[in-house]
Amino acid sequence: MLNTFRIAWKNLLRYQRRTILTSLLITVGIVAVLLFISISGSFKAMMIGQITDSMLGQMQVHKRGYVSSIDNLPLHLNMPPRMKEKARQALAELDNVEAYSERVKFGAMFSNFTETTNIRLNAVIPEDEARTAPLLADRIIAGKKEGALLSKGKILVPEIIAKGLNVNPGDTVVLVANNKDGSVNGLTFEVQGVLEGISGPGGRDGYMHIDDARNLLRFEEEDVSEIVIRLKNPGQLEKTFARLDKTLSQYLNKQDKPAFEVHTWDKLSPFSNIAGMIDMLTLFIKIMLVSIVLISIMNVMVMAVYERIREIGTISAIGTRPGRILSLFVTEGLLLGLVGTASGTIISLIIIAVLNVTQLTFSFARQDNLVLAPDISAPEVLTICAVVIVVAILASVQPAWKASRMDPIMALRHV
């Protein structure tokens, strides 16, 4: 086998320029794919991380029908305490749950005493919310960041409203809201901080303490609109979702339908469509790479066989078995693939390292100064390398097969 590699390598060096150009093509293809995967993958992971860690969590539990009406923030579709308790029990059985936060979501009128606007609010238990959405605190761009995320009687105002109504931390504002029965109540709150807006649902919501919301909305029971769940291992999302969904689906409502609905983050955020598009683009780029490797190596090997017909006749005449001739040409294709893959991978990893050191920033939607931190996993690199090498072998098989089946007399007569 080593001898076959040796001869194949010498044959590749026979046409150095062609070998270099083909290897370069594969190298460029590998670099393009690995860089795209690492950059798009890290962008996707960062955006998903932002969305899940500062807002959505990895999963959410609602009363059936809530999500389809979520734009109206319907208070009558909140989960009453008995449902909440069942959900808590189900969550307690899951090892992968790191934390969860119960929220009351509602809409209100927000006034600075001179102007009024609409506001969407998440009323939370601050300690639970901080554990479930750890990046929420990082979004506080003005006001107190230390200590509790929120204090009773205080409110975190979304940036867009703070700017629009010229509200600053320490100011007093009024919230007026309708309760479940339609009656109106109003309370004053102090602005604790201003929250940076982010893309996606809930990205422009304000936050307040859940006890304040219950006072404002005059809740008789401790209803919650949703339970947001953070997982220890997000990679096990589907498995954990399936278990929770199965457990909660056994509870039926009066219409004999499941009382709960469980959603993963991607069913709640439009960013999942962007993530899907990134995956599609990645697939497309991979297909392009496979095509580049297939066509370039096949082209080189077809030429190699054509140019060496007499030589094939000679080695066949002196007793080289057809299988050996086949393996010789396949090895040439394999070596081309290996050289291109190795150089492409090394160059890609160097570029990824350089990008990580230089800490390039970019903007996305309303977010600025996002740091480009490309990253690629070893299994992903190995998969790409394996695909390229397998395609290189496959591309060589047809020309190699032709060479191995050549009639030595005809080959020796070839001019």
Partner: protein, 235 residues
């Protein structure tokens, strides 16, 4: 016992709609360790006959036995194995592999056909390099060698596997007369040294007389079987 025996051997090619009979009812035998030539003008069937003896082609009819093996019964793979085990080839155009050095060209059959271990390969190649007096050219590539040197390398490559039969199709056709004569002398000395049977084809009367036995081919028939002096005189 014979190295090659042909009985009523015929070979017909299909050229378009026309059947061309290249070899017609040929009978001959070749003894071990002999130095034999097939002579005749172009198109007389010399190469066809050598191709069949070399198991590169099958007879259309008759029986051709090489080292007691019926050539017609060998399929592609078996024929390749048989050639690799028992037959050496020397070509008119030398047919050395251009990317390999002299040493590597001679080593090739041991490495890629018979799978010898490296140390034994090296010893055997050095022996052959010495036999063809090419030790000082071992690291050169074919494009750095003269025609005569290339054919020496080709002869060494043909002999490196200890073949019982060496076939040389017009081995001197691309060489000047002096070089051609020296190549034939070398082949003869190799026969003497290694005991292989040499069969070569030529149309050069001066070369053919160096053979111990000559078969004259005309229009696909072996017309005469002479000792070489007679053949050369009649050519």
């Amino acid at each position: 016992m014979s190295v090659v025996s042909a009985q009523q051997l015929s070979k017909t090619y299909q050229s378009g709609d026309v059947a061309v009979q290249a070899i017609k009812d040929v009978n001959f035998t070749i003894k071990p360790s002999s130095f034999v030539s097939f002579v005749g003008p172009s198109g007389s069937g010399k190469s066809t006959l050598l191709n069949m003896i070399g198991c590169l082609d099958h007879p259309t009819s008759g029986v051709l036995k090489v080292l007691d093996q019926d050539v017609a019964k060998l399929d592609r793979h078996a024929a390749a194995k048989f050639r690799g085990d028992h037959i050496g080839f020397v070509f008119q155009d030398f047919n050395l592999i251009p990317v390999l050095t002299t040493f590597e060209n001679i080593e090739y059959p041991l490495m890629m056909v018979q799978n010898w271990p490296p140390q034994k390969r090296r010893e055997r190649v050095m022996e052959l390099l010495s036999a063809v007096r090419m030790e000082d050219q071992a690291r050169k590539r074919p494009d750095q060698l003269s025609g005569g040197q290339k054919q020496r390398v080709a002869i060494a490559r043909a002999l490196v596997t200890h073949p019982r039969l060496v076939l040389a199709d017009e081995p001197t056709a691309n060489l000047d007369h002096d070089t051609a004569y020296r190549i034939i002398e070398l082949m003869k000395s190799m026969r003497d040294e290694f005991g292989s049977t040499f069969i070569f084809s030529t149309h050069d009367p001066k070369i053919m007389k160096e053979a111990e036995e000559t078969f004259v081919l005309e229009d696909g028939y072996v017309r005469n079987q002479h000792n070489s002096r007679e053949a050369a005189a009649n050519a």
